[in-house]
Symmetry: C2
Subunit: 234 residues, 2 copies
């Protein structure tokens, strides 16, 4: 039986609303019964400040948070965790530090065995097979682009449709993802800003205020809306 | 004596003009007297088509072009080259293939000894210390982010100022470059779309229709316009 429980949020902020506010209606039932969430702050440099921000926002909802960087043994912290939440920031930083701390494999194993894993932006991207469809700048060199592989595709967070003529600087996101498929075979699930994926009971449901676009090698992209499932990708 | 001769073009296309048209007034005097230019097509997948395009555009100006992928010994092709031009595309692809073909070092050595090197977009980015300020998607994993190091800074091509409120998706370019400086010390020269850098006689001059913005760690960015020099960075 497939035990995976994942909530993959495109963005921690959507226009006009506070940090994670739009995602709380999904986060709260997702971690119902969990006493403490383990936070992964590595996508940003100032880990103390980032952990404090998350603690404040989650605390308002009655969720207790500890950050993995506050533990002397981060691997043990993951092994003991009831749930893991990875925040957004720079995916290259996040992946570099997850490898350095040897946390990629423990998080993966726990999540495959049913520990609720949730993430926003870079934290959602790393649930995919690789980080190759991140939008971030490569400010540090990770030892690998391979990520958790909790879902059999790569994730492009913050998907944007082309801007009006003249405002589009350089290629569109869709053109970049097409170029990805010149060198890679796996599907890409592009999450619009307000989209989320909820995986439980062996099924992936689209949640949130916007839908997703699926890019497959050599095929036209497929648009799906909240309420529809991605089970054909499993 | 500093023998470097470099022409680093932000973009191969600017709004409303044909491929490289805006750069030709700089390219032609830069390679005056050169009989044949060696083209590096690795930033795009279809090398034959890319070489053909360059041959056509350069041919109109009377410049003969051969592409490095047409040689059985690419290293020898570089060693024998009178001038090297690297085209734009995906910087991750370009750097991966330059390492695979063992061309990074020969190009570097030739350029330091005075062979005219010119590039556009990804081809300009790799003249810097590292590719860490590229805007491209990491669709393949290069063996290193280190690049030619022909200039003592990194280059951000296609620099764009922030879009109006509401149209800016995610962080601005300036915010990304600030994040780069949380982990790296060297200056970044951000080239606006129509900007170019011309290095000769130990001096770097800003050319083209737009200027550059210099980002340094912990300092306010500095705006410079065409006609000004970057010699304080050397």
């Amino acid at each position: 039986m497939d035990k995976r429980r994942l909530l993959l949020i495109s963005s921690s902020g959507v226009h006009g609303r506070g940090y994670l506010d739009h995602a709380m209606p999904e986060i709260l039932p997702f971690i119902a019964g969990i006493r403490e969430v383990l936070f992964i702050p590595y996508a940003k440099k100032d880990r103390d400040a980032y952990a404090e921000k998350i603690r404040e926002h989650m605390g308002r909802e009655g969720i207790k948070v500890r950050s993995v960087h506050e533990f002397s043994d981060p691997v043990k912290a993951v092994i003991d965790a009831e749930s893991v939440f990875t925040g957004g920031g720079n995916t290259f930083l996040l992946v570099t530090e997850l490898y350095r701390q040897k946390l990629m494999e423990p998080i993966r194993e726990k999540a495959l065995r049913g520990m609720p894993y949730f993430g926003a932006s870079a934290g959602s991207n790393i649930a995919g097979l690789t980080m190759k469809t991140t939008n971030d700048m490569p400010i540090v060199y990770p030892p690998s682009f391979d990520t958790l592989g909790l879902v059999p595709f790569t994730i492009n967070p913050h998907y944007t449709d082309p801007l009006p003529e003249g405002l589009q600087a350089g290629e569109t996101r869709a053109e970049r993802l097409k170029e990805f498929h010149e060198w890679n075979d796996n599907p890409v699930v592009a999450l619009r800003q307000e989209a989320m994926l909820l995986m439980e009971n062996g099924s992936i449901l689209i949640k949130g205020g916007q839908g997703v676009k699926i890019f497959r090698k050599g095929e036209e992209p497929e648009d799906l809306v909240p309420g529809e499932k991605l089970d054909h990708l499993l």
